[in-house]
């Protein structure tokens, strides 16, 4: 993306941030957002398809081979080793993404119940999120100072915007007077 100069760093980071916050696969989310920036809705559709279709076809072919050969003992042994390695891969990714959360008590108080509810008790993901997300967000709620500061900045921005509009209106008004 950098090479083709489609986006600058800030635009890419914003897309990445949205892609990570919104549910779904981060890579496809980001491709939808970037596609939209470049070519609108059609761009996002093209980007999403480009992101997932080649891999989907590849895994589909692997899946067909799997269906054909899975009862073969040698193939079974290979898949057993590959699956164990895949667990190692997601464990490593989880530790890399979560090292900050795992070392903070406040975050562990959210992390551990989530793990137990979904991983061990098989409570549905929807029910878990509805119960835990509000508590988690409430724990990190902004303090009063941050909120008043934010509202003050918003108000100042809107006042500036309004002033700008009135100035522009008077300027164009006087121009019209002069023209007539």
């Amino acid at each position: 993306m950098k090479r083709r100069q489609w986006l600058n760093d800030d635009q890419f980071l914003a897309a990445l941030e949205i892609g990570e916050t919104v549910p779904g696969l981060i890579s496809t989310n980001v491709s939808v957002i970037v596609g939209n920036r470049l070519r609108g809705v059609r761009g996002s559709i093209a980007a999403a398809i480009g992101m997932m279709l080649p891999g989907a076809i590849a895994v589909f072919v692997l899946g067909l081979l799997y269906a054909r050969f899975r009862s073969n003992t040698e193939v079974k042994a290979v898949l057993t080793g590959a699956s164990a390695a895949a667990v190692g891969l997601i464990l490593a990714v989880t530790l890399q993404i979560g090292h900050r959360e795992i070392s903070k008590w406040l975050d562990l108080a959210i992390l551990i119940p989530t793990f137990i509810l979904v991983g061990m008790l098989h409570i549905s993901l929807l029910a878990t999120l509805v119960m835990i997300a509000p508590i988690a967000i409430w724990i990190h709620r902004p303090d009063r100072a941050a909120l008043t500061d934010y509202h003050a900045r918003q108000a100042a921005y809107h006042a500036q915007l309004a002033a700008h509009h009135t100035a522009a209106a008077t300027a164009s008004g006087s121009q019209i007077e002069r023209a007539s």
Binding site: L62, G81, S83, I97, G119, I137
Partner: protein, 183 residues
């Protein structure tokens, strides 16, 4: 028809619940596919997941294989659509309004609050898959010892060095072939 609607129900819901990526929905996906609907066995699910790690592109593309095994080609296509369309649409919509909340303290609170939930769900995903693929009570001690070693060594290598993960999955497969095929 019944199977197709079942597939859509399961995967469309998982699509919008995937906070922080695909691994977060892995435990629920395994539970629905293996225990609830009995579309696949736990071992088949783990095998198909590792196929997804070898193939290029998003690893959750392996949902097409699940769809295919349940309901043939229509199943594969429908699952792909059901799993990607809802979350892609949501990402599209949120990217339109995101700047509106620029600098809002609440946006920050949502992001920081969701982070530990995401990590907890990912660990649940590791646990769900690990119980089948790494430490399985149905397997012999020697078998479990081998798979635990493979998992731990791959984890340590990936934490220490930047290596293409698909390569390590293939190496894991080779180790499996050498050590486990005679049983």
């Amino acid at each position: 028809m019944n199977k197709l609607s079942g597939l859509i129900n399961v995967f469309a819901l998982l699509s919008i619940l995937a906070v922080g990526g695909g691994t977060a929905v892995l435990p629920q996906m395994k539970h629905e596919v293996v225990s609830q609907h009995r579309w696949l066995s736990a071992n088949q699910f783990a095998d198909i997941y590792s196929l997804g790690q070898i193939a290029p592109g998003p690893n959750m593309n392996m949902v097409t294989v699940i769809g295919y095994r349940v309901a043939g080609l229509p199943g594969a296509l429908l699952v792909l659509l059901a799993f990607y369309l809802p979350s892609c649409t949501l990402a599209f919509a949120v990217s339109k309004i995101w700047d509106h909340f620029e600098g809002s303290p609440w946006r920050d609170a949502v992001q920081r609050g969701m982070a530990p939930i995401t990590v907890g769900l990912m660990l649940a995903g590791v646990y769900a898959l690990g119980r089948t693929a790494t430490f399985n009570l149905d397997h012999s001690t020697r078998h479990n010892l081998t798979t635990v070693m493979i998992t731990l060594i791959v984890t340590l290598i990936l934490l220490r060095w930047r290596i293409n993960p698909a390569l390590l999955i293939l190496v894991g497969g080779a180790v499996g072939w050498f050590t486990l095929r005679v049983m």
